[in-house]
């Protein structure tokens, strides 16, 4: 049994207190590039107080697994990752990730976090597949997901209207059997 189940090479996944989470989300939401990579909702900075109050009122759900990403080197909270809609009957989930601290983007931290999360999906909650959506104008993320083993499953055309242009959203997925192959490669 692996005791470092939520720990990778560069990061570990943690659950912070609500105050810490609220402070991080509020700070990161001042960065419009971060928001535009993350969500189709119009970019809008968060009010730390309202986010915290809403979070405290929320009932825990068994199909939601949120984590924060913390660096092993200096224990810094740099982003979040989570399953935001586990469909148990289909053994499938959507995964979402955001690196809030700009200096930590494009350096392998996100890929490391995603590897931990995939292991959690397949070895802890026994899913059959994991899905994600990523915007066409975020090629760095697309490369990271490909490294983690995700396969392109299609593109939704012209979904996002930003800066006067329409952009596609890609859907990527990884099946259990595909993930197991990546594990064999890693060991061998």
């Amino acid at each position: 049994m692996d005791t470092n189940f939520l720990t990778g090479d560069l990061v570990r996944l943690v659950t912070p207190e609500t105050e810490q989470a609220a402070a991080c989300f509020a700070r990161w939401s001042r960065d419009s590039e971060y928001l535009r990579f993350l969500d189709t909702d119009p970019a809008r900075p968060l009010v730390e107080k309202w986010w915290k109050e809403d979070a405290e009122k929320r009932e825990p759900r068994d199909n939601f697994f949120p984590f924060f990403i913390q660096t092993i080197a200096d224990n810094k909270l740099i982003g979040f990752i989570g399953f935001w809609f586990v469909m148990w009957n289909n053994a499938d989930t959507f995964v979402g990730i955001g690196i809030g601290e700009p200096e930590y983007r494009g350096k392998g931290y996100g890929t490391d976090a995603m590897r931990i999360m995939l292991r959690f999906a397949f070895h802890e909650i026994n899913l059959h597949r994991v899905t994600l959506v990523v915007f066409a104008y975020n090629p760095r993320a697309i490369r990271s997901y490909e490294k983690a083993g995700f396969v392109l499953e299609g593109r939704e055309r012209n979904v996002i209207m930003r800066d006067g242009e329409r952009h596609d959203i890609y859907t990527m997925g990884i099946l259990r059997s595909e993930w197991e192959k990546t594990q064999l490669k890693a060991k061998g």
Binding site: N89, N90, R129
Partner: protein, 186 residues
């Protein structure tokens, strides 16, 4: 500008759901296990009349992002199905689209085709949406043919995303852009 045909076709019309009168019919639909499994990815769950009424009330709170119409036959005012828009993102002009005709006997009569044509017209010409997407199970070959006839393009195939009857199926996404929409198609 054509003012009189948003809700009325020749065979059917789009109507609001009556939270009191229609709950019993909808509760009966939820017990039609073939229909429920064909149309939805969530696990089948038969509902009571009271539970359906509760759903109507919850939907009422989310009306800004959701439109759900009853399909009623013009000949005898029967409630036979629904068309709906969900997850509307006004900023991008996009929405998810869903439809269903509950009883097999009411399919293949042109009711569904006309209801969906009315809904497409409503979405593009009244809500000014730019794009509609519909998610169907790969086992639902009838809906797939229907969407293709209407001009929807296949965009995404989430492999083995649905499990039923001991088998895996794909979740296939079809989409129609306003520029591609032909009002007389289907």
């Amino acid at each position: 500008m054509n003012h009189n045909s948003l809700f009325e076709g020749q065979l059917v019309c789009l109507a609001p759901f009556d939270p009191d009168k229609d709950a019993e019919t909808e509760a009966r639909w939820t017990h039609n296990t073939d229909y429920m499994r064909q149309t939805f990815f969530e696990p089948l769950r038969p509902l009571s009349v009271a539970q359906v009424k509760k759903k109507y009330e919850e939907a009422h709170k989310k009306e800004e992002r959701n439109f759900r119409f009853a399909i009623r036959t013009r000949a005898d005012d029967r409630l036979i199905g629904f068309v709906a828009l969900e997850w509307i993102e006004w900023v991008h002009g996009v929405a998810r689209f869903q439809f269903g005709i509950a009883e097999a006997a009411d399919r293949g009569q042109g009711y569904g085709a006309e209801a969906v044509r009315l809904m497409l017209n409503y979405s593009f010409n009244e809500l000014n949406l730019y794009r509609l997407a519909a998610s169907v199970g790969s086992y639902n070959t009838g809906a797939i043919r229907f969407l293709e006839r209407l001009g929807f393009q296949q965009e995404v195939r989430r492999r083995e995303a649905i499990q039923r009857d001991g088998q895996y199926w794909d979740d296939v996404l079809y989409a129609l852009l306003r520029d591609e929409w032909k009002p007389t198609a289907g």
